[in-house]
């Protein structure tokens, strides 16, 4: 098989892998099933059979049709909504398929390879699963080989070699295969090492969403159990079935409470502060710390009472610092290992620091008790807790909340609505969200400049649990009901044989606690329950075991690569205390100024940052230009010294050849500098007409230098004196250039 056939084959492999990885990323297997055979058939017809079934005008018509179809799709979905990565990638695939059938020139192959690269980038924007990543890595390796072979095949074409008989005209030495494999291996290894270094060096957390959102959620985080919820950031909801913990629940008499279909909400983080689309813990909720030895009880205050729940939990792979998942408000904790607990006074969320790894604890929790309707009151308006729990200012969300309550016959105005109606209002919001919105994992980061909750309620209308919880909390706050978002696990997978709940990474969940009476925080889950139960269904059978093995890999991929963020980077590189980079601060400021006042407000900072960037670029370019000549000279000197060190004869012969440098300087001063690529004797011939004396001296110097350098003859004193005399005469009598300083 000649090199052109190899090039065609590798290009086809690249195309197949690109389409496959995109289909996997977009969860669109029909695309792979349809497009890959068409591509393979195109390769077979155009490259193997060498049949020209398509003509260029037909190809052009097909390309125009693909453009028109894509434009129609975008137009019909609206220009802003329709211009998605998937539309663009499907357009790319259609062009690739047309080209596969009409491959006549090397340029066509180059275009196919380029489009495949763009398609791979589209895959990265669309998905982030491990399977897709493996396909992408395979694709990258194939692409590397395909591009390399293509450039060799293109060389044959450029030299006009059309058939095998002409190949004798191409220079080709022995052991080409081995050398080629070695070069490829070097490229791969060096490329991977360099890319890993660049991956680590690039700072994270800078510039997120500055230019809006493109593509599907593949952001740099895995939405699982987290101590914050950032709706502005596109993310990947973890679907990993990796077991995080096992839990047993019992009542005051130690009777098991576990049952199929019963869900326990293990609250881990309490998020009270909402600011520009992100929920975080309140900074003013000061934690209380307690160092508790192994086996000792740590009392958080209060008693569980008859309604209390006893829980025995084993976390499988707890990090050194982790929120402690607990049902309701814990009153007592005891763990198998020494721990430092910190408990937040208001939210009563518990965090543990200690040895990482397996962490087992038992705890007693007190569920909230709803008072009689007559004794329901609201917390005092002036209390800091209530002020914080009500802080929310998104008019559109408030408008929707009021409409929902009005439609249910509940007065949205808290001053007119009785406190006892707050619980019903919350239930109304819960019902509204469960019934009017759909659950999806494929959620973008909304629209820049629009509050993510507003975007979810008005435009997106589909999202994952964080959107549902955020929306309900926002709606509650908008009508005067204190509410907060809780991040934790929803334990619903009950293993009756062990009387334990299995909690997986995919069970990470967000829900709402609303203050339905002063100090009584009631749990609500506005996420559609059928979807939630489906996510809690345990995998079973052989497929499940296989899936479990893959799942571990996927989990590793997600936690170590996809969720690699600035903190991970700093930890890895060992500069955890480094200050925020200037760029991050600038971009954050830019974003906040833009959010507050649009481009007009951001313009001065943008201009300042732009000016600094231009100055930095100019300086960098100037330094590069200045250092280029110096670097070249340095390399040349080093090479010369190395050569001389290994060759004493040569060193002796070149001992007194400084006249050559003198000649070059003289030529430069006379305005006839010798180009680096031109042999000195030829240069001397060329300047002979305009400056015969100088040419004669240059020729003499060159000949003597050649004799020393290549003939390895040590020059005698007379020769050296003669050449210096000739150069001096030339310097004295030859014409200086007009305006020159010689």
């Amino acid at each position: 098989m000649n090199i052109r056939r190899w090039s065609d084959l590798l290009t086809t492999a690249t195309v197949v892998l690109s389409i496959g990885s995109y289909a996997l990323a977009d969860r669109f297997p029909a695309l792979a099933v349809g497009a890959i055979p068409v591509a393979l058939l195109g390769w077979f017809v155009a490259d193997v059979m060498r049949l020209a079934l398509t003509r260029r005008p037909i190809s052009d018509l097909l390309v125009i049709a693909a453009i028109a179809w894509s434009a129609y799709r975008v137009r019909s979905a609206g220009w802003t909504q329709g211009l998605t990565v998937s539309v663009f990638c499907e357009f790319l695939i259609s062009i690739i398929l047309v080209k596969m059938w009409d491959r006549k020139l090397p340029r066509d192959t180059a275009q196919i390879l380029t489009l495949s690269v763009f398609l791979s980038v589209g895959s990265m924007l669309t998905g982030a699963s491990l399977g897709m990543a493996i396909l992408l890595i395979a694709n990258l390796s194939t692409l590397l080989v395909a591009v390399t072979v293509f450039h060799l095949a293109a060389g044959y074409e450029a030299a006009g070699i059309r058939d095998d008989a002409d190949e004798s005209r191409v220079g080709k030495g022995p052991s080409a295969g081995a050398h080629f494999a070695g070069t490829l291996a070097f490229s791969l290894v060096a490329g991977l090492v360099l890319s890993a270094v660049i991956f680590l060096v690039m700072p994270r957390g800078i510039g997120l969403g500055q230019l809006g959102t493109f593509g599907q959620p593949t952001g740099g985080r895995v939405t699982g159990l987290a101590d914050h919820v950032d709706l502005r950031q596109s993310g990947l909801i973890s679907e990993s079935a990796r077991v995080v913990l096992e839990a047993r629940f019992a009542d005051a008499d130690q009777n098991s409470l576990g049952a199929d279909g019963r869900v326990f909400y293990l609250r881990a983080s309490v998020l009270e502060r909402y600011e520009r689309g992100a929920w975080t813990s309140s900074r003013r909720d000061e934690p209380r710390e307690e160092n508790v030895p192994a086996g000792q009880h740590f009392s958080l205050g209060g008693t569980p009472g008859r309604e209390g729940i006893w829980q025995e939990i084993q976390m499988r792979d707890a990090p050194a610092s982790t929120p402690v998942p607990l049902v309701y408000r814990a009153v007592d904790i005891a763990s198998s290992s020494a721990s430092i607990y910190s408990v937040r006074a208001r939210s009563e969320a518990v965090t543990r620091r200690g040895e990482p790894g397996r962490f087992a604890y038992i705890a007693a929790s007190a569920p909230p008790v709803l008072p009689d309707p007559e004794s329901v009151t609201r917390a005092p308006a002036e209390s800091r807790s209530r002020q914080l729990a009500l802080r929310f200012d998104v008019p559109k969300v408030a408008q929707i909340a009021r409409e929902v309550l009005k439609n249910s016959g509940i007065d949205p105005d808290p001053s007119l609505r009785p406190a006892s109606a707050d619980l019903e209002a919350c239930r109304e919001f819960e019902r509204y969200l469960r019934s009017s919105f759909s659950y999806t994992l494929d959620t973008g980061a909304g629209r820049p400049g629009v509050d993510p909750i507003e975007w979810f309620l008005t435009e997106g209308r589909a999202g994952h649990c964080e959107y549902f919880a955020s929306a309900m909390a926002g709606m509650c706050r908008s009508v005067g009901i204190g509410a907060r978002v809780i991040a934790g696990y929803a334990a619903g997978e009950f293993d009756a044989s062990r009387d334990a709940y299995i909690v997986r990474e995919s069970n990470a969940h967000a829900w709402v606690e609303a203050e339905v009476s002063a100090g009584v925080w009631w749990t609500f889950d506005p996420t559609p329950q059928d979807t939630l139960r489906a996510r809690m269904r345990p995998p079973s059978g052989l497929r499940a075991r296989w899936a479990s093995a893959l799942d571990r890999l996927d989990s590793l991929w997600s936690t170590s690569f996809i969720s690699f963020d600035e903190n991970s980077r700093r930890r890895l590189l060992g500069f955890t205390s480094a200050p925020d980079p200037w760029l991050r601060r600038t971009l954050d400021n830019l974003r906040s100024q833009y959010d507050e006042g649009g481009w007009r407000a951001a313009a001065p900072l943008l201009a300042k940052a732009g000016a600094w960037t231009v100055v930095a670029c100019v300086l960098a370019i100037a330094m590069l230009r200045l250092s280029r000549g110096a670097l070249a000279r340095l390399v040349s000197t080093l090479r010369a010294r190395t050569a001389l060190r290994h060759d004493p004869d040569l060193a002796r012969a070149l001992g007194h050849t400084e006249f050559f440098g003198k000649m070059l300087t003289l030529l430069r001063k006379r305005g006839v500098a010798k180009p680096a690529w031109k042999p000195p004797l030829i240069h001397a011939e060329e300047i002979a007409r305009s400056n015969p004396r100088l040419a004669e001296a240059a020729a003499l110097a060159s000949r003597l230098y050649y004799r020393a350098r290549f003939g390895r003859h040590a020059l005698d004193d007379e020769d050296i004196r003669a050449v210096h005399r000739a150069l001096d005469d030339a310097a004295r009598f030859s014409d200086a250039p007009r305006g020159g300083n010689a």
Binding site: L125, L144, T148, G160, A176, F214, D565, I682
Partner: protein, 351 residues
């Protein structure tokens, strides 16, 4: 950096912007791969060319429209790195040198692989576009291997003359007929080693006379060079008189006819000489393949048109049996031994 490299650079910038905007780690990695690709490409391209030496073999003349072969001998002095995908291209002539681009399509040869310390040969085949003489002056060896992102090149200064000879045109019947007359050109029976005829006389040696015809003893006695004259057809020569004017197309045709005349002389094994008064060219009349090639090379180098005043032509002492073919734009009084061929002007050209 060439065009694909610039496109690649822009794509890399977009990748960086996309990665920063989305904080997508896959895009960060893709950006790393893009930068790594650029660096690796630059290093391999550069290493490929370190230690490459190229020597261009002498180029055989070719007739216009034919295929010219330019052969290169490439050596890799590098002891570690093999080189792949080396393109060998001829660069445009340097200032003041005679160009080749008017007479040749650009020669391009390719070396797919050359290992450390190996030597390979490559050949470029190009079409000779038109008659002329040029000089392949500088040779560039470049490569975009492995990824086509960076283009590295080295230049070698090596002069080689390239000659594209005129296409010989068929001559007037009169010339062919005249060449067949007994006693004239056709009288020669042997081409390579003609038997000398009878001695006729001695005369003063003139420029262009063969050194073999010098009578050395007589010259020594006389104190001046003397040339022997023979009576046989050995002296029958074909003189080609080429008169050019300002009509380039007509000049090209005349040069083609002259080439045809040279080929007739070569076929007959007759001595031939060329006289072009407009450029002051006058070659001796000699026989042999080498001389015929020299005449064709001289014709290749001639300008097709000239404004120079034609020098008066004096027949070079035509011997009995010599044939003079005058290729001229204008008819005029001629010596009886001259076969005049008036080359008509090109349609639409000067009358």
């Amino acid at each position: 950096m060439h065009l694909p490299g610039i496109v690649y650079g822009l794509t890399t910038v977009f990748l960086a912007v996309g990665a920063i905007n989305s904080q997508n780690n896959l895009l960060f990695w893709a950006f790393g791969v893009a930068i790594a690709g650029l660096l690796v490409s630059g290093v391999i391209s550069g290493a490929s060319l370190v230690g490459i030496e190229v020597e261009r073999a002498p180029v055989e003349p070719v007739i216009a429209g034919g295929t010219l072969r330019v052969r290169y001998r490439v050596r890799n002095r590098n002891r570690l790195f093999p080189a792949f995908g080396l393109h060998l291209s001829e660069l445009p002539e340097s200032r003041g040198a005679t160009g080749w681009r008017a007479i040749l399509s650009p020669p391009e040869a390719f070396v797919a692989h050359i290992g450390p310390g190996q030597t390979v040969e490559a050949e470029a085949r190009v079409t000779a576009l038109r008659r002329g003489e040029g000089r392949l002056d500088r040779l560039s060896v470049w490569t975009v291997f492995p990824f086509g992102l960076t283009k590295k090149s080295v230049t070698f200064a090596q002069g080689r003359r390239v000659v594209v000879r005129p296409v010989p045109l068929e001559l007037d019947d009169r010339v062919v007929r005249a060449s067949r007359e007994p006693g004239l050109l056709a009288a020669k029976s042997q081409r390579r080693s003609p038997t000398p005829g009878e001695f006729f006389a001695l005369r003063e040696h003139r420029e262009g006379d063969s050194p073999r015809s010098v009578a050395w003893r007589a010259s020594a006695r006389a104190g001046a060079l003397l040339t022997r004259q023979f009576t046989s057809a050995r002296a029958a020569r074909l003189w080609i008189l080429l008169e050019l004017d300002t009509d380039a197309e007509r000049g090209e045709r005349a040069i083609g006819l002259a080439a045809g005349a040279v080929e007739v002389a070569r076929a007959r094994g007759s001595p031939a000489g060329l006289i072009v008064p407009a450029v002051g060219l006058r070659t001796p009349a000699r026989e042999g393949r080498g001389h015929a090639d020299a005449l064709l090379d001289a014709l290749a180098a001639l300008p097709a048109a000239t404004t120079a005043t034609a020098l008066s032509f004096v027949a070079p002492d035509p011997s009995p049996g010599d044939l003079v073919v005058a290729l001229t734009p204008h008819s005029g009084p001629r010596h009886p031994s001259v076969v005049e061929i008036v080359v008509p002007p090109a349609p639409g050209g000067e009358p």
